[in-house]
Amino acid sequence: MGKKLVEDKSNVLPGDVIVEGDYLSDRGTYKENGKVKSKVLGVARIEKSKVRVIPLSGGYIPKEGDKVIGKVSGIGPSHWWIELDSPYDGYLSLAEGSEEFIDLDETELSDVYDIGDIIYTEVIKVTSEKDVKLSMQDRICKKLTGGRIVRISPSRVPRLIGKGGSMVEMIKNKTDSRIIIGQNGIVWIGGGKEDLALEAVKTVDERGHGRGLKEKVEKILNKR
């Protein structure tokens, strides 16, 4: 078994050696000469056999299985282009665009999703050249109308969801808002006390690291 060179949950910089020997390198780390080193500025997590680093910041790179929120930016003969707030746009084909059959002789693609529409969608395939394929087949994927959109750092998304969804559930309960979180850091808030929910989400974004985040958010939610 390997040797730990830093404690679990310690802050690391790129190039810092986290462990030596028999560990697997997970997200945010790389292996060099039998040492697992950090790739990013973040918090190291050492598990039984693998090591990962939770980054403090960074953009979104699409990953298969992610549910994201995007904006329709272009329409082709049988597909849509979706902006994902990432270097790579998503491709949504006609077949994946809807559960129902769309007859191109009778409907325009823009009647289904028009340019500027916001959709909640799933990443189903990412090639090595980072061509991103999206799908709306999952039942929770839909076009989002009304409500508000806020951007947070993608690295804060796990904090906003909380353990088993506890953080977002708390915000939902206290504000009666519906909240949808995209893995790419786009958050949709609709209905209820939108202002308050927005403030809570922004608090998570700004103070996303360190302990006692839940108490801080609770305090804001109870204020009004």
Binding site: L13, P14, G15, V40, G59, P87, E129, R207, H209
Partner: protein, 238 residues
């Protein structure tokens, strides 16, 4: 070469430093809100800021690489940074330093994780007193880390040189102007990989070794300063 000024007297330099002393340093992370990552670095009277944007889509499209991303660097001396106002706009020197900085930084970034994309680094020197490329690179390196760009390590840069036939560390303006050699290097201080090495002036191989040794020592001290600044970002976000 004008020898009217005494650059070295009893082992002390014109600003009172010893042969192996760096100028005082200051570093700050996250100075620009609208950039993905940013940094400030100062060594003596040389100051630089850097902003990082990306990874983002690269245009024009024909410059995209299908298997890896690219890193683009801009180095600029602001008009007010030097004694006689510099004419603003791109210059031969600025372009060249941008180019070598690209090489110095891209060798530590995991560019293969961002095919077709670009990472843009903008370095602006706001006050120049020798060693501007080193200070700019130091700022750029902490800005890259702040942006969450995956990297093998940090790049630390520092110059060594020769004044009055003596190898010294971290030249300042007058020493650069009236000295014999200027040798800026950039390296990954953790692994010892040198990613930039330039030299101006004439020397022999033994002195070269001595100066390189000095510069490497300097880079290690710079790395400590960068680490200190980056560690502060953890406190700020609490």
């Amino acid at each position: 070469m004008s020898e009217n000024k005494e650059l070295l007297k009893n082992g002390k330099r014109i600003d009172g430093r010893g042969i192996e002393d760096l100028r005082d340093m200051e570093a700050e992370v996250g100075i620009f809100k609208r950039a993905d990552g940013s940094g400030y670095f100062r060594m003596g009277n040389t100051e630089a800021v850097a902003a990082v944007f990306g990874p983002r889509e690269l245009h024009p499209k024909h410059r995209q690489k299908p298997k890896r991303g690219i890193l683009q660097c801009r180095y600029n001396l602001t008009p007010f940074s030097v004694e006689d106002r510099k004419r603003p706009g791109p210059s031969r020197r600025g372009k060249e330093i941008g180019k070598v900085s690209e090489g110095a930084l891209s060798s530590i970034v995991f560019l293969e994780e961002f095919p077709t994309a670009t990472i843009d680094v903008y370095m602006e020197v706001i006050s120049a007193d020798a060693g501007t490329r080193c200070v700019a690179l130091n700022a750029a390196s902490i800005a890259l880390a702040d942006a969450g760009v995956p990297m093998k390590g940090l790049i630390s840069a520092c110059a060594a040189g020769k004044i009055e036939d003596t190898p010294v560390l971290d030249l300042k303006g007058e020493e650069d102007k009236d000295g014999q050699v200027d040798l800026p290097i950039a390296m990954n201080a953790e692994t010892g990989d040198i990613t930039l090495l330039q030299m101006d002036g004439m020397t022999d191989i033994d002195e070269m070794d001595e100066m390189l040794g000095l510069a490497v020592k300097g880079c290690k001290k710079v790395a400590e300063k960068q680490r200190e600044a980056l560690m502060k970002t953890f406190e700020d976000s609490k």
